[in-house]
């Protein structure tokens, strides 16, 4: 299907008019790719900025078929347009789970590879690429190229985290992990400030899943106050009796929907501050334990359809950076001080501790250290403010996450040590607005 439409990603910024094509069969796709001068590959549009935007977009959403499932080995092969949510619906009842998942299940497998997504378990289980066995790429002549650690490894490692610039990912084969139940045993612990939060991360290294929601507007002694949520897949014995009969089947949950874009004044410095304070205090106790379903633990925001509309029609920008471990305490403190002074609040601020980077993945974002992800409503002065934050990040030797970015400058790319190796594998036919903007 070929049409022209207005396209935007999750941040609703920027928006472009693009020719939009979606095809299902491999022969038509190969012929289409061969005919194009330039094309931007797009999955489900859950990048925040302009990663999968361009003037001529090819959507992989019709490549939505499972190709193989080996339940014994725990290996699945599927086309690149399959959504994580569809994989979970298929595999959870069989006692299997995704090895790595970000905070939304509405991404495609191709997108997961192109952004080399990470989740709450990077310190224990790495990025998605660690569990990726092989992928099939479609090159600029519509030719199929198999890639793995053994076959075309340079292309494999450039495609992982490669933002769709090396070719069209057609299908992928990856490992799954085994679970006993569809539930997570979650511990919520209050941290009164950043130091306490970081100490908690250090002492939680044995936990599979760790993440902290952080109040980025609190100051002084309370700077960086957070709620740490650490989790493990719940075993059958850990479930309450009522759930033990159907440990792998979740009832359908009712979703809330934000039906229209909220007026721009709704989210402002004061309302965000109010939200943050209420959210931090929602738990009275210092520490509590719950059994919650995997959907609520991993995808709290997916339950609110179109939550991005809260940011008004100008949209918002996500800012995610990582700082090396040694620099993190000082760097984070500086950044949080800047943010609370600016009154440009983010109410969804997430802190994680990453494990080591994968040495082979050229453009993969995580490095050993702390990562913070913030949302900023689009407002005057925001980009200048973020440029200031960039300076702090780069001074510390950190970097930014491309799949979240809508405004960074090309210099920030130089902090990816394997950039040259990546550039050698770029296929000039496959472009994006992001790539043009930052000079990839």
């Amino acid at each position: 299907m070929k049409k022209f439409k207005e396209i935007k990603n999750w941040g609703n910024y920027p928006r472009l008019h693009a020719r939009f094509t979606e095809l299902e069969f491999i022969n038509e796709i190969a012929a289409f790719i061969d005919r194009q001068n330039n094309v931007t590959i797009r999955g489900n549009g859950r990048a925040y900025g302009d990663a999968s935007l361009g003037n001529n977009i090819f959507s992989t959403l019709k490549l939505d078929k499972f190709l193989e499932l080996d339940e014994n080995r725990g290996v699945i092969t599927c086309q690149a347009g399959v959504l994580f949510t569809d994989i979970l619906k298929l595999i959870v009842p069989k006692g299997l789970f995704l090895p790595v998942t970000p905070g939304t299940q509405f991404i495609t497998v191709g997108g997961a590879i192109a952004a080399d997504v990470h989740g709450k378990n990077h310190h224990s289980e790495g990025c998605f690429s660690r569990h990726l066995i092989s992928l099939t790429l479609i090159g600029d002549r519509g030719n199929l190229i198999p890639c793995s650690r053994a076959e075309n490894p340079d292309l494999f490692w450039a495609t992982v985290g490669g933002m769709g610039l090396t070719g069209l990912i057609y299908s992928a084969e990856f490992y799954l992990k085994r679970i006993e139940t569809a539930y997570i045993r979650q511990e919520t612990i209050k941290a009164r400030n950043l130091t306490e939060a970081m100490d908690l991360f250090e002492s939680s290294q044995d936990w599979t899943y760790t993440v902290a929601w952080l109040d980025c507007l609190s100051r002084g002694e309370k700077q960086g106050r957070s709620l740490m949520l650490r989790g493990e897949h719940a075993t059958l014995e850990e479930l309450p009796h009522s759930l033990q009969k159907q440990p792998l089947n979740l009832p359908d949950k009712r979703k809330i929907n934000i039906p229209f874009t909220l007026p721009n004044f709704v989210l402002n410095g004061l309302s965000v501050q109010a939200f943050n304070t209420l959210y931090y205090h929602k738990q009275w106790q210092k520490q509590s334990v719950d059994i919650i379903d995997y959907d609520s633990y991993f995808y709290p925001l997916d339950g609110i359809e179109n939550w991005n509309r809260i940011y008004g029609d100008r949209g918002f920008v996500q800012y995610q950076f990582v700082l090396p471990k040694a620099e993190s305490k000082a760097g984070l403190a500086k950044i949080l001080t800047q943010i609370s002074a600016s009154k440009k609040g983010s109410f969804l601020t997430v802190l994680k501790l990453f494990g080591e980077a994968d040495p082979d993945a050229c453009l993969s974002f995580p490095m050993e250290g702390y990562t913070l992800a913030l949302d900023f409503k689009l407002q005057p002065g925001l980009f200048e403010f973020l440029n200031e934050l960039d300076k702090i990040v780069l001074d510390c030797g950190g970097r930014l996450y491309l799949v979240k970015d809508a405004r960074m400058k090309s210099e920030t790319l130089n902090y990816y040590p394997h950039l040259a190796q990546f550039k050698a594998q770029i296929n000039r036919k496959f472009t994006s607005h992001l790539a043009d903007r930052i000079g990839l």
Binding site: F25, N27, L67, Q79
Partner: protein
């Protein structure tokens, strides 16, 4: 064993119908040209629903191959659904008979060719359901698509006659008349959203209609009334309209 034969399996509606029947526990025979392109769908449905799914080479326009095609099926179906069709280009078809012929043969003659064979088999076995995807366009010929419309009108009359013949043998015939559906076939058209069905909606309606032995199905439902109105416009007015 519950088994469905879907003719024209590469279409969006066919894919949705296949999925719906697989969900309901049917084995599937998916027939189309270049059937190797159906491999991903075959694998997908097998993984999801754990029933037998096969892809078969079938060309609606190769009439001579239809007898052999049907005889070679490993197992005869209990339900046969004829989904293949061709919208074509009205303007081209007005000038170029080859295009007109393709519209007629794909939407009518090819369907007659294969369904005659299937009808005879079902009549002998005294069981089964035959469904044909016709179109509201067949309810009345209009200037913007009467080549397609007339072929579909012929198909509708064929299915009606077939229904009449086969009722004595306990075989049901369902005529499906979709209005606007959002598929590859209508991708270039601007369709009014409230009137446009998704392939999944059509598939659900077809599944229910077959289950309940319905005769004629309009989908989405309002098209029955839209066409009632269209059909009742007197000819002296209709001929001047720009539909």
């Amino acid at each position: 064993m519950k088994r469905v034969l879907i003719l024209g399996a590469k279409s969006d509606i066919a894919k949705a119908i296949a999925t719906r029947f697989a969900q309901a526990g049917y084995d599937l025979d998916l027939a189309a040209r270049s059937s190797t392109l159906l491999e991903p769908l075959v694998k997908d449905l097998t993984i999801r629903y754990n029933h037998e799914v096969k892809a078969l080479e079938f060309d609606a326009l190769d009439f001579n191959s239809h007898q052999e095609f049907y005889e070679k099926l490993s197992e005869k179906p209990t339900i046969a659904i004829c989904v293949f069709g061709y919208l074509g280009n009205q303007e081209s078809a007005q000038k170029d008979f080859q295009e007109a012929e393709k519209i007629i043969n794909t939407n009518y003659t090819g369907a007659v060719s294969i369904l005659n064979i299937i009808a005879n088999d079902f009549e002998e076995r005294q069981q089964g359901t035959i469904a044909g995807i016709s179109s509201v366009a067949g309810d009345r010929g209009r200037q913007s698509n009467y080549l397609y419309g007339s072929a579909k009108a012929a198909f509708t009359a064929y299915l009606s006659g077939l229904r009449n013949r086969l009722v004595k043998s306990g075989v049901n015939v369902l005529t499906v008349k979709p209005g606007y559906v959002a598929t590859k076939m209508t991708a270039e058209m601007e369709l009014s959203q409230p009137l446009t069905a998704s392939p999944e909606q059509v598939a659900e309606a077809v599944f229910q209609a077959i289950d309940r032995n319905k005769n004629v199905l309009y989908t989405l439902w309002m098209w029955k009334y839209i066409m009632l109105i269209i059909r009742s416009i007197p000819e002296f007015i209709f001929k001047k309209l720009n539909l």
